[in-house]
Symmetry: C2
């Protein structure tokens, strides 16, 4: 059912560390907006992240649309995006839509050129190949977490006690692994400077998955039975699956604290009236307003791409979307 | 129904130029084997293509599993793979499993870093987002074909008549476009040297799509209704869709000349007995033998990955798979 409780309250109920972090972030930033950063160069991507960072809680990428994506683990596009994410307080979500047999997906997630697991807090999966694909991704994420936590621990114990006898309490993760991007290293004052939200904590060393349970496109083949199976699989992996890419909330049991993120969102142009008609993109995409998606359908986060990117002023347009989506959330939870 | 006619005969019936080419290739090379080249470096990939090229008609890639994939249009991994493809006579099939809304998939197919359409004769799509995804890919491929043919034509007319008055008949495509990989340029003697099959023609300047209609993995969610919709969409795009990745032939109407390629194929190890049991991979993959897949289920091409790659001698193992799959085809068409 549509959640009436606040994001803050839900942050206390979920057992997923990254979901809890995200829900707190939403409350602090008063934002339930995800930018779909569908641009074609690294510079465009980073500029957009810098400009719109204050308005969003998630930035969604299609890394393979970036013609000059730089794969370097510590100076490449993913690492730079992560630094902006920490500065502004948002999570990175690579919209990879994994959709192969388990063994292939594991390799695509962790290895290959893109090493998505290293720079993307969240990714998503198309469960068509069967539930094993979620099982194998969960397995890969658990191994990743173990490795990261081990690296951090090792580094602490390697650190000599300081002259006054206290152990150094700041863990410098940047030094422990060549392949590690400094996602969670302490923010320096300089990195911190532009930050509008000093209350934002470091994100936990965790990874999360969204299951693609319903699509926005016309005539898609996601049936009720298919969507139900997605929910079933999510319940089997509550420590890894954060929620869904879906068109409505899919929380049904008391323990369901899943977050639903929803693409296919636009506001009518040149008017604040959400009842004005919105055209699709002529290639199957269909749009709904934040009021419908958040207020009525009970989704938590709206995903907006061209509605913001193609605006004359993406920064102010992002703020307009943030405001509309947030008001829809306030209305939903005020009754 | 299971086809009783030969690949040669079917080459005459299909209206898809790339399917006709592939079917002729199969007859010449006596092979209905596709190698799934799931390795992790460019060198491994190219060595495998070189070693196993004579046994196969299609080489399937997951470009994003190659940690050092080189994106350069004329000297990169895709271009080099294409040169080996021309030398040995096989088509390249990037197993990308596109699965997004139309506008995103078009960009992923044609643009971004990988520019898959430039180096991969064949790719595939997961039709879950709806039929529009096939429509938009067909549109992109038609534009690509138009552009290529225009480039070739332009180059022909630019070419001066030779001294004896005849127009130069060999089109040197390498010169016409900076972004073009010399897929179809005439083979030099040197490139030709290792070629065991001098009858092999140049592949046509065409692109083809396979629709993922059935999967090999346990508990996958492809229902009969879903598979039927895939066939319907294929029939709407007979000039672009070559066939299916499926577990059985899906040809049902007289006009259906679709090719079915089938993963989840292994031979029992250390025995020629195809009735011996074969284990899955423990991550959802299920295996069947060529005799079952080609002989009984009526598939045309078997896709084999780990069965060949992990063998002590991949080259001789590939030959063993080629022989078994070809015999299954001969048996099927001899009755
Ligand atoms: O059902 C879906 C699922 C996704 C994400 O998983 N998307 C993606 O959202 C974004 C929507 O962009 P738009 O707001 O410009 O239409 C695109 O990146 C598209 O690939 C959709 O548009 N629909
Ligand atoms: O249903 C499918 C579809 C595909 C291809 O579209 N695949 C792919 O075939 C290959 C099978 O490899 P294997 O022979 O090593 O199991 C892998 O690349 C896998 O991703 C499958 O394994 N099953």
């Amino acid at each position: 059912p549509v959640a009436r409780s606040s994001f803050d309250e839900r942050a206390l109920k979920t057992t997923h560390p990254l979901s809890a972090y995200l829900l707190r972030l939403m409350a602090i930033k008063k934002s339930n907006l995800c930018l779909s950063a569908d641009v074609s160069t690294t510079n465009q991507l980073l500029h957009l992240a810098e400009a719109i960072g204050p308005s969003i809680v998630v930035l969604k990428t299609h890394y393979d649309l970036i013609s000059n994506w730089d794969y370097h683990p510590s100076t490449g596009t993913g690492a730079r995006l992560n630094r902006l994410a920490r500065r502004h307080g948002f999570l990175v979500f690579e919209d990879r839509k994994f959709g192969d047999i388990g063994s292939t997906v594991q390799a695509q997630y962790v290895e290959g050129s893109a090493k998505i697991i290293e720079w993307s807090h969240i990714t998503n999966v198309n469960m068509v190949p069967g539930k094993a694909v979620v099982d194998t991704m969960a397995e890969a994420a658990a191994r990743w977490r173990q490795r990261k936590h081990y690296e951090v621990k090792t580094d602490i114990s390697a650190e000599a006690p300081t002259h006054d006898g206290r152990k150094a309490s700041i863990v410098s993760i940047t030094t422990v692994s060549q392949h590690f991007e400094p996602v969670n290293s302490p923010r320096t004052h300089d990195e911190f400077a532009g930050d509008l939200f000093p209350d934002i904590e470091e994100p936990p060393l965790e990874r999360g998955l969204l299951i693609l349970a319903q699509m926005s496109s016309k005539g898609n083949f996601m049936t009720r039975a298919y969507t139900d199976a997605c929910v079933e699989s999510a319940r089997e992996h509550r420590d890894y699956v954060m929620g869904f890419v879906s068109q409505e909330t899919l929380n049904a049991q008391p323990d369901d604290q899943f977050i639903s993120m929803t693409p296919g969102c636009q506001l009518p142009q040149d008017t604040e009236d959400e009842d004005a008609e919105i055209q699709g993109d002529g290639k199957g995409q269909q749009y709904n307003t934040p009021r419908k998606l958040v207020g009525i359908m009970g989704n938590d986060i709206v995903i907006v791409g061209r509605g913001i990117i193609n605006a004359a002023n993406p920064r102010t347009e992002a703020e307009r979307y943030r405001r509309h989506a947030w008001e829809a959330y306030l209305e939903r939870t005020s009754s």
